[in-house]
């Protein structure tokens, strides 16, 4: 039969690393010219709890999308204060890919993002507030509806409220009914708000 078992299969589990794998060396390898080495360094840094700063610094300048993705995975695994704070910074980035990557990463960190969600939803930049609502879309947390209700009660920006209403159409309950009805009064000249609010209220009634 033309099937072979090479010596590689014998060495599985006994991998000899070409580079030193301590945390300090791994951080240095984040700037290795070879993207494969950078990916492996980023991946192995998941076991180095103090490595968020180095990962964030590399992420800001990393040209290779595959390395960026693995850095973000590792930052999500670390999920420490610095990692989360950096993801928050990226929400305001001009780099659309980085912004979206940060949103996706933050969706995976409900416990870490929850304490700062209130501040995110009050950020002066409406794009950051919209990103925050987008994070809520897939974030598993019991306060999601409370946050959304606060958005439609308090946020002055129509697009932020519209994003929140869309989501309330899926997850809203009686708890949000009054806030939804008031939203139409707050934005009387916005046809989309009127449409989305009526739809959300209809779905709540049907429930």
């Amino acid at each position: 039969m033309p099937f072979v078992k090479q010596k590689q299969s014998e060495t599985i589990g006994q991998d000899e690393r070409k580079r030193v794998r301590d945390c300090a060396s791994l951080e240095l390898q984040l700037s290795d010219p070879n993207p494969t080495a950078r990916r492996w360094a980023a991946r192995d840094l998941a076991s180095c709890p103090e490595s968020s700063a180095a990962l964030v610094e590399q992420l800001k300048q990393e040209p290779d999308s595959s390395v960026r993705e693995i850095i973000l995975t590792t930052l999500t695994q670390l999920g420490d204060e610095l990692a989360v704070a950096s993801l928050v910074d990226f929400l305001g980035s001009e780099d659309v890919a980085l912004r979206n990557e940060a949103i996706e990463a933050m969706k995976l960190l409900p416990d870490e993002v929850a304490p700062i969600m209130g501040n995110l939803l009050k950020d002066p930049d409406p794009d950051v507030r919209i990103s925050a609502v987008n994070i809520l879309e897939s974030m598993r947390h019991q306060h999601v509806e409370t946050w959304l209700k606060e958005v439609i009660e308090q946020d002055a920006h129509v697009n932020v409220c519209a994003t929140a209403v869309d989501l309330l159409g899926e997850v809203g309950t009686d708890y949000s009914r009054e806030a939804l009805e008031n939203l139409k009064i707050r934005f009387p000249n916005e046809p989309y708000i009127s449409f989305a609010t009526d739809l959300a209220l209809k779905r709540i009634c049907l429930a």
Partner: protein, 280 residues
């Protein structure tokens, strides 16, 4: 009192959400199957109605209920030639591309994960022998891995019940198996064709030696993972593949919702994921 009804709108809403989270798409014809399981979980979680259950499902921090429901909605079984169209795609479309770009004529390396009791890996070997003319010119290395050492031992033994061989064409059953009192024993040649290894996909130390694969089969595994683990697995496969290598997932799974590392390739028989040829 529990409302055990699932409206059309509920069904659509759930279907869209479940697809987004797991990649599993239910056709309208599966409505009864889906409703039955949803109602079972609504009752079990004392959610009173679909809406309450759906809100809990979406926002429960632990994700436990989503996992429970996913397990209910999927059928965990394996058998020879399961999702055969992917093997057809392998011989008709993928291998010709791989051999065209392999200038050094090194062996074609295939990784099947999770191995389970070995049906997939042995199916690959059989399919190559039966339907790929290139098998006469190329060496092939098949490695099949699982986290469960007991199931790996079973795979190495290669003894199967009737359920496992149900989709095998009778001539192949006759050619590659011997009937014995325990069921069907796969022939020694095929047993020798596959290397079975234990690996935990989530442990970098376990997976870092798995490199230079041309094809990875990882079917119906990621649906059991949480979002972060799926992403970690996608990253791992990326570095395990050669540039231009292919990743095949289960028919209900989609890499597009997990990672942006791969290019989607649509062949006649299947949608598969490819690591860019230019990737380093």
């Amino acid at each position: 009192m529990t409302d055990k009804s699932i409206s059309q709108e509920d069904f659509f809403k759930f279907r869209e959400f479940f697809y987004r989270k797991t990649g599993i798409q239910f056709e309208d014809s599966k409505r009864y199957f889906v409703d039955k399981r949803l109602i079972e979980r609504i009752v079990a979680t004392e959610s009173n109605n679909f809406r309450n259950y759906f809100v809990m499902l979406r926002f429960e921090t632990s994700g436990e209920e989503l996992q429970t429901l996913t397990n209910l909605m999927t059928v965990n079984e394996t058998y020879f030639f399961r999702e055969e169209y992917q093997f057809q795609c392998m011989v008709a479309s993928i291998l010709p591309e791989i051999t065209a770009q392999k200038k050094d004529h090194s062996p074609i390396r295939i990784w099947s994960m999770p191995s389970s009791s070995g049906e997939e890996a042995y199916s690959i070997a059989m399919y190559l022998l039966e339907y790929w003319p290139g098998i006469n010119q190329w060496d092939v290395e098949i490695i099949s891995s699982d986290i469960d050492t007991k199931i790996l031992a079973q795979a190495r033994l290669g003894n199967y019940g009737t359920r496992s061989i149900q989709k095998l064409p009778p001539p192949l059953l006759k050619k590659y198996f011997k009937c014995n009192r325990d069921g069907y024993q796969i022939c020694d040649d095929l047993r020798q064709a596959v290397e079975f290894t234990r690996v935990n996909l989530m442990k970098p130390a376990d997976v870092r030696a798995y490199r230079e694969f041309d094809i990875i089969f990882c079917r119906n595994l990621l649906i059991y993972f949480d979002d972060l683990s799926r992403r970690t697995a996608a990253d791992t496969f990326f570095d395990a593949l050669n540039p231009g290598g292919f990743l095949l997932l289960g028919h209900s799974e989609s890499m597009s919702r997990i990672s942006s590392l791969y290019q989607v390739r649509k062949f006649t028989d299947s949608v598969v994921y490819q690591k860019s040829k230019e990737a380093q």
